[in-house]
Point group: C2
Chain length 179, copies 2
């Protein structure tokens, strides 16, 4: 999984680098670990933010947090940091001996989006996949257009579709990789 | 839905009142609104904590937050506060003309727990239900035993089952009420 803080869209439609949120790391790492994800990349070009992620992860993986809560250590151990999306993909490619297929997500309906159950079946046939989530108001249009797969948005029985990235990550993992 | 901060279990097994977490309110209200939940009760006997919830909700429902982000207003409008679980049930009973059936959740496997798809079918037949989530290390044994339905834990394809309450809420709503 790749959690992108740049390039993402702001409330006003500008392209921005969003701030890292502590609970994104915990919640998405815990859900990722539950559903058997290999790694969770936190992407931001902001030096201070990368250091913040390192500090949080170190606390739980090798610091006092690791003793306090070993289950949290196990989850946060899957976190990696990367200064760009391309660098994250290169890291995955080096580990998997080839670039992963990229799956992007968006809360907006699009004509060419893939149904969850179709993607679920595709993943089950094997291979390497990177599920990409945008923070703030989501991934940019340009970013979405360059991916291998564009996943359909999560819809409930209402017309409201403003889930947090943490909730969306959990539901998508359950739909794609749940038993 | 009812999010319980007392009585819940601490890391050491003691019965405690846990602290309210701002992002629990946002994430669970947004997921609840997405899946058509009527109300989200925040239960804590701690006066200061009830006031904190009121302050957060007011900011987004009738304060500056309501103008800044109307979608957030729509989600947080479903939040109610209650000083006890019993008081929350009474409020729901007054609104629904009868007490709801209570559904409790736990991360631990139990012999008498109900499968998600069985409960999904039951809910579809109609009636009033309260889905109860525990914070900290979960609802107490005594609390779990008194409910009408005990839901099976969420399991992914691994043996790790330490989801955040926010992720668990999202997945349970999707499984019980998703299209």
């Amino acid at each position: 999984m790749i959690l992108v803080h740049y390039p993402v869209v702001s409330k006003n439609g500008d392209i921005i680098a969003s701030a890292v949120t502590n609970l994104d790391l915990h919640d998405i790492a815990r859900a990722g670990r539950t559903y058997g994800i290999c790694s969770l990349y936190i992407v931001t070009p902001v030096r201070d933010q990368l250091e913040l992620v390192d500090k949080i992860v170190s606390h739980w993986v090798s610091g006092a947090g690791a003793v306090y809560n070993p289950q949290r250590k196990e989850a946060l151990s899957i976190i990696r940091v990367s200064e760009s999306f391309e660098a994250a993909l290169s890291d995955i490619a080096a580990e998997d001996n080839g670039y992963p297929k990229t799956i992007v997500t968006s809360a907006r309906k699009r004509a060419n989006s893939l149904k969850m159950d179709v993607l679920r079946d595709t993943i089950r046939m094997g291979g390497s996949y990177a599920l990409v989530l945008g923070t703030a108001w989501g991934l940019t249009e340009d970013f979405l257009n360059r991916a291998d797969y564009l996943l359909e948005p999560i819809c409930g029985p209402t017309d409201y579709n403003h889930l947090s990235v943490r909730s969306a990550a959990a539901i998508i993992l359950d739909r794609l990789l749940g038993n």
